[in-house]
Symmetry: C2
Subunit: 623 residues, 2 copies
């Protein structure tokens, strides 16, 4: 991490200097008003709070921080995102790591007893530099809240404030008017916003206000969930375990701290007749079902920390913004929805919180770029265009997954009864690993996703997918690190330039970017700003070269003292050659253009200067 | 990390439940009074604050937290210790990593210009799982202060309190009486203590009070040190660099944050005649010297964050406690000194802060064990007995090192003038690597360090040396981890049992420890305490076995609910076989007994039950 650029600052380097005028009071007008402080709302808030010039507020109807319960699975991709916020280390330290998953089924000899059928690695080797982990949603939110508080905006949610209604009018700068009600009494509050984002969950009022509806299957399968402290002789209680039994199905997920465990207990099909009874299932009944499922093992629950009963419902809105008005006319979006407000699904694939946070990460940098005048407002339409199809894919996946997890085990003595064989379940689990790790998302070609003309130059870095990190050595200080960790959640684009064999094309690119009048670095960087403040160029060399031979672009002078930034150049780590790992063309090298949310926008030849200009032209505003 | 054992606790798991009666006021009587809040004082305080039943206070004459300057090198061994306090992750994230060191000398063609002669890896591969890092002493102290505040004792230093004098009398429980003066005015404060520890630096008043003196060479070589933000074309400004030039010597140490750099500038021999002038060297003169040394490179200093001039003086006290009274009679020690109070040396080998912290880590668990009634008071004599020789070794090393670093470069055209050749310096640096990494300390045979009768059973885990961690897989959750990270700074002993080929001896050991009347686990664990609260047994298997086949000792029931602790058993990581890495006998296995400060007390055969009893008998008190 970099700090002390503009002079030594004692104390915690994560505590950024406060923005001029940062205040805790809720202003009458804000740039962005976020409704809801769940994972989506807080990722968005943590992102926006990092920009000193953007005024953001989060309103939350609850009285304070979440304490327990809710979601808990953090996919590899989400840890990658947390890394960009500087939060991965404490998360990894605190979390349970899902290393392997065990599968159990009714024993052939006695179907009332379960037996282990297999155990598989949870995450395919090399899928991400991070593991799949489990930690309480409340703790994820704590991390994000702490990050917000240390950001230049010193942002904290305004609790006890519920959205009453919103209107959009012709106000020239702040066309969204929100009326808020204090849940602890007190007068209504009016706030004007340039943009409003509804992260207000499955019962979203913002969704209703923009005329969107969750569409999809009615819920029809119920699950009970509980976090417990228990004593058991079930041997896989510290492994994620999918248990199929004659008494029903259960998913067991160990939790952070070494003792807590979450149990998802199958409560069967919901009908009109049994719905009320199932919804009223007492926790004692959940425990009794879990005990039957685990036979012959004994489960003695010592403490129930949290429990809930829910029905799987896979539903989705048509769009995630108000870009089509009541009359069907297309307009500039001003109100957005993210997370559960626009898509709901089952909990068992562990995707909900992760996809919601990725929604927010997608939207955050776009709002920031527009509010900073770096990108045209047209950029904002891409949020719904990109994320709605991702949510649709999630729902398709979740239907399949839930059906597998909810199906009874196939009985070898009664194959006609149907069901799923544990080996099928296990095979499906492995195959779905890339999806559940969160790394299967791939944006379609569009304004932010280039065509694959030059994809072969970096075959392992798929355009539209997230940038898949790999090890490198930083040139100036010989530090082994992950190249992807150069990307911070700071709204900047990264241009990873992988050197060609002769080095001529890379040198030419650096010279062009530094000095050519058409250079995107020159055109899109505001006057007086650091050279890397919009487009951050990082070069990866195949062989070490002396620092003094680096192109000037890679040793930029920054900050009020004009100090040199030495962290732009890397060399291959001999123990893990990034060129080989990511299929970089060893002769021609490659230029990989990565968005502020870590997704690959384009792969180009190092000398594709014109193509680079043409691609960025509609996305960035000349300064 | 483990938490939620006695019920779910929302929020930060590092925030331990407050001890009953923990208070911020300075009591009239405390168990341990620590004078000084530097690295030694704070490591000791952080250690003691973890014990709910021990009342500790730290008094500090300064008005508040340190902000800048002072020491900055954190040896691998110190990072290992920080890991035990749960502080390694944030430290590694924030710190500069010393990966390689560069060497420069006068160019053969023009001795007024320097040229690079070589570059070496800073830390030998495999020496530690952690790198050698650099971070401001103030930040190290911040981490420790935060840890103290989150401990059961909620401990914070009492600032503005200076020690006036101490007396030792015949008070039955609290024989040390300290008189403290408020540096910001106000009345004197009297505090009685069971034990007092002087961590009050080179001018220690506690040292004077116990009649100890620093003995050794008078200082005779001066160095200037400064932390600067600078622009330079010296290419190795982000590498640790030892520069020998015709204009003098300099050591350059990059610092955390990517921009800051520390320069140690040689100011030459000190004589009576020039001492006053050298001590008064202005920072402008330091800069000018640094600029001459770096010729032909240009150094443009933009901001001087901190600077100082000091003389190297290697000095040491005869003992680190008051175990010999004024009449020469041996008695139970009640007053201790640690860190610079008992040993001073140069800054350039980066050892001072590290050795001081290890002093405190050595003393902390011993004080805790005695105060908890787990160990006899005779344990306390071992502190001075172990640490004084370590400090003597440091001083011997530092003299050699300082002489190398302070010597002029050998001139090939004038060999008769003497000096050190850069290649000699580089070779010495590599050879000294184990020492500067802090892993060369090896306590001599004594009450806490067994004889090497069975050393061959674990040839890579030297008795008396720190436990050298290696990778393993945790059995119950398949998590890859470092075995050494099982050790927390919690005052417990670790018994690492490496399985024998048949598994019989390991099974026998577990059965013996659980059920034999002579078992140290049975004898030394207080009634009602968790089975692992004094002796924490961890087993490493060569092949995975089902959790249900583990001996009962390795699945202990703990806490108010009797929850099972699943973190006692490990299996070899196929990618890095700990048996091979640490020379464990593959047929017989080994039992490695590790003290609470991570040093290896003994290596025994798995069936050496009698030897284990005999070794622990004088160290622990039957409960």
């Amino acid at each position: 991490m970099q700090f002390h650029l503009n002079g030594f600052q004692p104390g915690d380097p994560d505590l950024h200097p406060a923005a001029c005028g940062a205040t805790t009071a809720l202003p009458e007008a804000v740039d962005v008003l976020i409704v809801g402080s769940g994972p989506a709302g807080l990722v968005l808030a943590a992102q926006l709070a990092r920009f000193p010039g953007i005024v953001t507020r989060v309103v939350e109807r609850r009285a304070g921080r979440l304490q327990l319960g809710q979601a808990d699975g953090i996919a590899c991709r989400s840890v990658e995102m947390f890394q960009a916020f500087g939060l991965a280390e404490p998360l990894l330290r605190e979390a349970y790591w899902v290393n392997e998953t065990a599968f159990w089924r009714p024993a052939a000899a006695d179907r009332q007893r379960i037996e282990r059928t297999g155990r598989v690695q949870d995450t395919e080797d090399g899928l991400s530099e991070f593991p799949h982990v489990i930690v309480n949603q409340a703790r994820i939110q704590d991390y994000l809240l702490d990050s917000m508080l240390k950001s230049p905006q010193r942002l904290a949610p305004d609790y006890n404030l519920a959205l009453a209604h919103i209107t959009r009018d012709e106000h020239p700068s702040h066309p969204v008017q929100a009326t808020l009600q204090r849940t602890d009494g007190g007068p209504e509050v009016q706030v004007r916003a340039r943009y409003l984002v509804g992260c207000d969950g499955a019962r979203s009022q913002v969704r209703a206000a923009i005329g969107q509806q969750l569409r999809g299957d009615a819920a029809n399968h119920a699950w009970g969930v509980m976090d417990v402290l228990a004593v058991t002789d079930f041997p896989d209680v510290r492994l994620k375990a999918a248990v199929q039994s004659a008494a029903g199905n259960m998913i067991l997920i160990p939790r952070e701290g070494g003792h807590l465990v979450r149990l998802y207990v199958d409560l069967g099909e919901v009908t009109e007749a049994n719905r009320a009874a199932i919804r009223a299932t007492a926790v004692e009944a959940l425990i009794a079902t879990a005990q039957r499922i685990l036979q012959p093992y004994v489960l003695e629950v010592k403490s129930v920390v949290w429990s809930s009963v829910y029905e799987v419902g896979q539903r989705l809105t048509d769009r995630f913004d108000d870009s089509v008005d009541a009359a069907g006319q297309v307009r500039e979006p001003r109100v957005f929805i993210a997370g559960d407000a626009c898509h709901t699904h089952s909990a068992k694939a562990g995707q909900g919180m992760n996809v919601s946070m990725q929604d927010a990460f997608n939207l955050g940098w776009k709002l920031a770029a527009v509010l900073q005048g770096r990108s045209p407002t047209s950029l904002l339409a891409s949020y719904s265009q990109e994320r709605q199809p991702v949510a649709q894919e999630l729902i398709n996946f979740d239907k399949e997954w839930s059906a597998m997890m909810g199906a009874p085990p196939k009985d070898p003595l009664n194959p006609a009864a149907g069901g799923v064989d544990p080996s099928e379940l296990q095979a499906y689990f492995v195959q779905a690993g890339r999806y559940t790790a969160g790394v299967a998302t791939r944006y379609r070609p569009g304004p932010l996703t280039g065509r694959g003309t030059w994809q072969a130059l970096a075959s392992g870095l798929a355009i539209g997918a997230r940038f898949h990190s790999a090890p490198v050595i930083r040139l100036a200080d010989a530090r082994p690190m992950q190249l992807g960790h150069a990307a911070q959640a700071d709204g900047r684009w990264r241009l990873y330039a992988f050197a060609d064999a002769s080095g001529q094309a890379l040198a030419g690119l650096c010279e062009y970017l530094l000095n050519d009048p058409g250079s995107p670095v020159r055109r899109f960087t505001p006057a007086g700003a650091d050279l890397d403040s919009v487009l951050d160029v990082r070069a990866v060399y195949r062989q070490a070269l002396p620092v003094e031979q680096l192109p000037a672009l890679l040793l930029p002078r920054k900050g009020c003292f004009g100090l040199i930034d030495y962290e732009k150049a890397f060399v291959v780590d001999p123990a893990a050659d990034i060129f080989a790992l990511r299929g970089i063309d060893p002769v021609h090298g490659a230029l990989v253009l990565v968005r502020p949310d870590q997704y690959i926008a384009h792969v180009l030849p190092l000398d594709g200067h014109g193509e680079l200009e043409a691609f960025l032209q509609p996305i960035l505003v000349p300064q």
